[in-house]
């Protein structure tokens, strides 16, 4: 027992040291730390504000307000449970079977029991920290509205830890057993694809239920009816049920929190024990099996194409599950986007115009997110193999243009599909239709160039996964730069759009000043950002140093 505990704490210390190292950039640069913390707080403040409004709104429903809040809490916890399960399953593959430290751990004098429990904490942390960004504002908003007692925050924090541990332990047990039967990588890919498609279909189902109809002023009765549509699984076998009961106990007279708290503790204990016994028996065998499953053959089909880098990037993309599954997620987001536009309640002509205008900005943000994942990351994704290109006689200007074109073409197709698709549904006036299409075409070009350029200025060749590149300092800067670029673009279009809409109402064309000046601003903004990005990107690539 002592050995197990010693190994458990040693493993945690080992992991925490590595975790701390990944944050060491903030120690060197206080500015980066301040910006990152501010962004996190801004997000939580916005989320908190939104949750606060929704809870207050639902609470106001006559007679059944509090019951509806409990139901809403149930929906939140069952959603978090589903997301956590998805995230824990995917994370468990990485922390248990694809972890780089496994070899070191197995040759070191760690007790397997300690490592197994350490990996439970590790998986639980990686899989659930994001949900804290929602849970924290949620409990603060609830506590503020219902005046929760101080001790309830402590109880809630501990219960949340039990909740996270339960989900992680259950997922890890499932993954360990699955790896015994199926090949690990195929199983993981299959689960990712299945869960993305399932999630998209589930979302479309919710949208078909027309949630927006019930959030209009004076529609609280409808809200009640809507919430009652959700036949929540009221089974005490799910930890989300006890989390809901726990939160409800803080504002329901006579309801005690201790039973729910004890049940959550019991869940964590039982599932951790089950995981421990499964993992101690099968983890090592599973890992050995994963190590021996690497061999994969691809027989040549014709000669290697003329452009070797393009061919290499294409084959790597297709064969690397980590890359194309992200493309699948983006595809799912596009479907969700189009369904959202389709289901939007647009019964006033003015709304058609307004939504078509705002749609330009939304598409801009979709493009910048895609740009972050693919264009910004394209040079960094060369990783430790970048020496091959950098020491070759490949012209670096050509390499920059190639990396840009590889991403610009799909990005342009994506942007134009979104704008033409949503305009087809929204049916805006012809002028706005043309302007939005042109602006989105411009945005595709400029955002791709910005991404390619900033990717060269802030490369991360040592990143272990694409997410590390996206969340790097350069990635944050790219998102900020994209945000301001889109904002300026929207302001310029707004000047024209307002004049154009008024001219439709009045029946005569807009003043030419409101056409030419915004057009000039849009062209100058795009041309200057694109040119600066192009020149700066090439210079950065030519000056790049490969220190990995």
């Amino acid at each position: 027992m002592r050995e197990r505990l010693k190994s458990f704490f040693l493993y945690l210390a080992f992991w925490l040291t590595r975790l701390r190292q990944s944050f060491s950039i903030f120690k060197k640069n206080k500015g980066k730390f301040a910006v990152s913390i501010s962004l996190a707080f801004l997000f939580m403040a916005l989320a908190g504000g939104g949750i606060f409004q929704v809870i207050r709104y639902v609470k106001e429903v006559p007679i059944v307000g509090n019951s509806l809040v409990i139901r809403l809490t149930g929906i939140i916890f069952i959603t978090i449970l589903l997301l956590l399960t998805y995230s824990s399953v995917i994370t468990a593959f990485s922390t248990l079977f694809f972890a780089e430290d496994n070899e070191f751990i197995f040759v070191s004098p760690f007790h397997p029991g300690g490592v197994i429990l350490g990996k439970l904490i590790q998986t639980s942390f990686y899989a659930s920290w994001m949900s804290l960004l929602v849970l924290f504002p949620f409990i603060v908003a609830m506590g503020y509205i219902y005046k929760f007692p101080i001790y309830s925050y402590g109880v809630f924090t501990l219960a949340t830890i039990f909740f996270f541990l339960t989900v992680a332990a259950a997922s890890m047990s499932g993954v360990t057993l699955l790896v015994r039967i199926f090949p690990a990588r195929k199983m993981r890919d299959f689960l990712i694809v299945g869960l993305v498609i399932g999630g998209t279909l589930l979302y479309i189902f919710f949208r078909i239920l027309n949630i927006e109809q019930v959030l209009r002023p004076g529609q609280q009765i409808l809200a009640a009816g809507y919430l009652s549509l959700f036949a929540l699984p009221k089974t005490p076998y799910l930890p989300s049920y006890w989390m809901t009961k726990l939160v409800a106990s803080f504002f329901s007279p006579g309801a005690g929190w201790m039973m729910s708290f004890f049940m959550l503790f019991l869940f964590a204990l039982v599932f951790s024990a089950v995981y421990y016994f499964i993992a101690i028996k099968y983890f090592y065998d599973g890992w050995e099996k994963v190590k021996s499953q690497e061999r994969k053959r691809y027989l040549p089909k014709g000669s290697f194409p003329r452009n070797p880098v393009l061919a290499k990037d294409f084959r790597t993309f297709v064969r690397d599950t980590g890359q194309w599954t992200q493309a699948l997620i983006i595809l799912a987001l596009i479907v969700i986007y189009i369904v959202n536009i389709y289901k939007m309640p647009l019964d006033v002509p003015y709304l058609h115009y307004l939504v078509a205008y705002l749609n330009i900005g939304m598409i801009g943000f979709v493009l910048s997110s895609v740009g972050l994942r693919f264009t910004f990351s394209s040079i960094s994704l060369e990783g430790r193999c970048f020496w091959i290109l950098l020491s070759s006689p490949l012209n670096l200007r050509k390499l920059f243009r190639l990396k840009f074109m590889e991403n610009f073409v799909p990005m342009e197709i994506l942007g134009l599909t979104l704008v033409l698709g949503s305009n087809y549904i929204l049916k805006p006036p012809l002028a706005l239709n043309i302007v939005s299409t042109l602006v989105v075409a411009f945005m595709g070009l400029t955002l791709s160039l910005m991404g390619a350029s900033m990717g060269c200025i802030y490369p991360r060749f040592d990143a272990a996964a694409p997410t590390e590149i996206e969340t790097s300092w350069g990635g944050v800067l790219y998102m900020l730069a994209s945000f301001f670029y889109i904002l300026f673009l929207l302001i310029a279009i707004a000047v024209w759009a307002r004049a154009d809409f008024l001219s439709i109402v009045r029946g005569y064309g807009p003043d030419k000043v409101f056409v030419f000046i915004p057009a000039l601003v849009i062209i100058v903004l795009n041309v200057s950002v694109a040119l600066i990005s192009y020149k700066r990107g090439i210079r950065a690539l030519e000056e790049i140093e490969f220190q990995v």
């Binding site: 690497e294 994969k296 061919a311 020491s391 000056e543």
Partner: protein, 247 residues
């Protein structure tokens, strides 16, 4: 007059306040195998990265076959092949695809290319796994694959950083024989190594660096004199590096 294959002039590299390499002057003569020796952290890998354009010098110049790599990187890079210390290559390509990738990247002639690829894959014992993903290769197999691409290209200059690390004794022997044969054909080899027996066996000239400075450069007999008559390369190396450390 034919320019020297590799000429480093006052090569200096600083990382912030830390000077990794200080005013390094080395000239390699045609057909030589030059070994770069030095303790850990002496600046061997930094030197090789500067020579191949992976790093930019703070000051000084690198001339490859008379071409300044800073002024004309594309032409200079056509002249050499690099074998790094850690064989990172695209894991999602097969060995076969990687050979063709390199052939295209360096614009090699298509005439008989497939036969030459097969020949090199056979020479380096990777033909049997040519269609497997590189991800499944061991360190040594990746190292051999990189060496196969080098032989496929047949460049004038070959720059290697610890080339024997990860190779089994059989592959190591084969690689040494290939180096000797290449040198006899007038090719130029510049390698960094920790293994003094490899340096003794292969190198016609040896450069020793310590703390980023060149402390000795010459043939085996010249180094023997500098060390004050030490006989084995191990003794020569230890004497010279200790003396440099003391001063």
């Amino acid at each position: 007059m034919t320019p020297s294959p590799v000429k480093l002039i006052g090569l200096t590299k600083k990382f912030g306040d830390f000077t990794a390499l200080s005013s390094l002057d080395i000239e390699v003569e045609k057909g030589e195998i030059t070994g770069l020796l030095g303790p850990n952290g002496a600046g061997k890998t930094t030197t090789i990265k500067l020579m191949t354009g992976l790093l930019k010098p703070t000051s000084g110049r690198v001339l490859i076959a008379g071409i300044d790599i800073a002024d004309n990187p594309v032409e200079a890079k056509k002249k050499f092949a690099l074998v790094p210390d850690a064989p990172f290559i695209y894991g999602k390509l097969t060995a076969w695809e990687f050979m063709f990738f390199i052939a295209r990247l360096y614009n090699l002639s298509k005439d008989g290319l497939e036969d030459r690829v097969v020949e090199q894959l056979r020479t380096f014992n990777i033909y049997e796994v040519a269609h497997d993903l590189i991800d499944s290769f061991s360190h040594g197999m990746k190292q051999r694959l990189i060496l196969a691409t080098v032989m496929l290209r047949d460049p004038e200059i070959i720059i290697l950083d610890e080339p024997m690390v990860g190779l089994d004794p059989e592959a190591s022997r084969m690689v040494k024989n290939i180096f000797k044969e290449l040198s006899e054909r007038g090719k130029n080899i510049f390698l960094s190594t920790h293994t003094l027996s490899d340096a003794t066996e292969l190198c016609s000239k040896i450069a020793i660096i310590s703390s980023g400075r060149l402390i000795a450069h010459g043939s085996y007999s010249e180094l023997e004199k500098i060390s004050g008559g030490e006989k084995s390369l191990e003794d020569i190396y230890l004497k010279i590096t200790r003396d440099a450390g003391a001063s």
